[in-house]
């Protein structure tokens, strides 16, 4: 099925949006060990398996040296795994160069562009390098520049563009051949607030077109905002992989927090404390959910600022998982 899909896609690109549940990337049991000159063995990646479907953003998170870049490079065919299998649209990039037609990548720490060329020249060159005709590459390049709001800079050498514009262009170049899988390694690193917002919007748009996106970032708020699923890697192994919402829910408590506009009077404070809730100045923490409405009844008609279920964020989840695993392995 994936091979058939790969052949049909160029004919029916508008059907890309219907591919929501089709697995574009399948990674099975990847393993990579490096041997240093002193015969020291380092297990960079241990039994990593991942899948990403169309329209899905997978945030691939982990501390420095956890094995993220090695995994991404194995997916892109740039590092040969010792064991395991990578399939992009059913094709293995290590054996079948055709698989690379379905892959676009913006790699971290790299410019990914020729600085002496202009944006349109970069788009045309990389389009041909990915197998397009110069005419198609030029046309798609013009469309992408328009969409990425870079049209007015189309003839300026890349080195004169701002970091944000360069990053947008690198993403545009990675999309020139309309790949179904996009690898984005730290796409918002070093960008200012405005450029970060634009890149986030573009990532959402690109995914909504039906593409699968593998995103790595150390900015966990961005990962939380953009991803449908999260995979956390530590010391070469995946320690969690599930939907972002589910993961956060799993790590969130069941308590509620009520925030008041003014400090609570003594009478209400004692009534609420008697129910078992904790009152601190303008905040009430309710651990037993069944007393929530009783507390709200007591508070009536005082002005409230918010009533919220205590919610973990991805940063807390990430730190908890990484620290727990580090303690276990010690």
């Amino acid at each position: 099925m994936p091979r058939l899909l790969n052949e049909l896609l160029p004919l029916y690109p508008h059907h890309l949006s219907t591919l929501k549940f089709m697995q574009i990337l399948e990674v099975q049991h990847l393993q990579k060990t490096y041997r240093s000159s002193r015969k020291k063995i380092a297990q960079a990646v241990r039994d990593v398996s991942l899948t990403i479907a169309g329209r899905e953003v997978l945030a691939f998170l982990g501390p420095n040296g956890a094995g993220k870049t090695t995994t991404i490079k194995m997916i892109a065919g740039l590092i040969l795994p010792d064991r395991g299998d990578v399939k992009i649209n059913g094709r293995n990039p290590h054996r079948d160069a055709e698989a690379l037609r379905s892959l676009g990548a913006v790699l971290e720490g790299n410019r990914n562009l020729y600085w002496r060329l202009t944006p349109i020249e970069n788009l045309e060159y990389f389009g041909v390098l990915r197998g397009l005709s110069p005419k198609v590459a030029r046309q798609r390049g013009r469309d992408l520049l328009e969409r990425f709001e870079l049209s007015d800079k189309r003839n300026a050498p890349v080195q004169t563009l701002s970091r944000g514009m360069q990053q947008k262009l690198a993403i545009a170049v990675a999309l020139i051949h309309e790949p179904q899988l996009l690898l984005l390694d730290e796409p918002t690193l070093g960008l200012d607030v405005e450029a970060t917002q634009t890149v986030k919007r573009l990532i959402r748009e690109i995914a909504s077109e039906g593409r699968a996106i593998l995103l790595t970032t150390h900015q966990l708020d961005i990962a939380e905002e953009l991803s449908d699923r999260v995979a956390i890697i530590n010391q070469g192994a995946i320690v969690a992989e599930e939907s972002t919402g589910e993961l956060i829910r799993r790590f969130s408590g069941s308590a509620y927090v009520v925030e008041l506009e003014h400090e609570l009077d003594r009478d209400r404070t004692s009534k609420i404390q008697n129910l078992g809730a904790i009152v601190t100045e303008k905040t009430i923490l309710i651990r037993e959910t069944e007393i929530l409405y009783e507390v709200l009844h007591i508070l009536q008609p005082l002005p409230l600022i918010r009533v919220e279920k205590e919610q973990a964020n991805l940063t807390e989840v990430f730190l908890q998982l990484i620290q727990t695993q580090s303690k276990t392995s010690c």
Binding site: T70, I79, L100, Y114, L117, P134
Partner: protein, 257 residues
């Protein structure tokens, strides 16, 4: 493949002319060297291949030396430059495959260099009124030498992939190149002659010497052997590069120069 070649020519040419001062500087150096040769200052050619004492032979010898040196270090140079500019990985994720991309780029670069030198030569010839004459069949042995040079270029590129920093080795290669292109294997006899045929590029260089210095016609059987020699070295270089690419990917050391 042709589309990729044209894209490479365009890319290389734009990169060359984007900063006019740099391009003019480069053209000025080449022009000065060839003009010096025309004025009789053959020493300006430095190390080159001796194809005779006539101006025609000196110019052809120097041009051959320049182009072969250019080809020889092209792939290793591209690898190191691309790693520095942060585009190396993008070349390796092309569906064309790295060997084809690097070969196409090396041919495109050579073509630009060749056209540039030829244009400069034509301008100098029209300015000085001294027209060079050499047999057009010179192109055939030249192709065999260039084929061998591409084979060696892939071999040096393989070393660059595996060892990363090879600047120190490049000097040795240049010395070896001078030996290979100057050693008079065409006058060797017996078992030495077989050794001469096995060395890279020497058979083609010998034919060039026969044609330019000794005014002999093109020896077709010799050309066949030189072509075979060129093809074998080209194939070996390509095979070595494929091995080095796989080995570098196995070690996880692509990029990071």
């Amino acid at each position: 493949m042709l589309k990729l070649f044209l894209a490479e020519v365009k890319r290389s040419w734009i990169q060359f002319i984007r900063y006019p001062a740099e391009a003019i500087g480069g053209i000025f150096i080449i022009s000065a060297l060839f003009y010096g040769l025309f004025l009789g200052a053959s020493y300006v050619a430095g190390s080159s291949i001796k194809l005779g004492d006539r101006l025609d032979s000196i110019i052809v010898g120097y041009m051959l030396w320049t182009l072969v040196t250019f080809v020889l270090f092209d792939i290793a140079g591209t690898l190191q430059n691309e790693a520095q500019t942060g585009t190396l990985e993008q070349l390796f994720i092309s569906p064309f495959g790295a060997p084809r991309v690097f070969l196409t780029r090396a041919i495109a670069n050579l073509m630009i260099q060749f056209v540039l030198i030829t244009t400069i030569l034509l301008i100098i010839m029209s300015l000085t009124g001294r027209w060079l004459s050499f047999p057009p069949t010179l192109i055939f042995p030249l192709i065999t030498v260039i084929l061998g040079a591409y084979g060696l270029s892939f071999a040096i590129g393989s070393l660059a992939l595996l060892l990363k920093r090879i600047q120190q080795l490049l000097g040795i290669f240049q010395f070896a190149l001078l030996f290979l292109l100057s050693v008079p294997t065409e006058s060797w006899t017996g078992s030495s002659k077989i050794v001469g045929l096995l060395l890279p590029m020497t058979a083609g260089a010998g034919l060039l010497r026969d044609m330019m210095a000794r005014q002999q016609p093109l020896n077709l059987p010799q050309l066949g052997l030189a072509l075979l020699n060129g093809c074998v070295y080209f194939g070996l270089g390509l095979a070595l590069f494929r091995f080095a690419e796989r080995e570098t990917k196995r070690r996880g050391r692509l990029g990071g120069y």
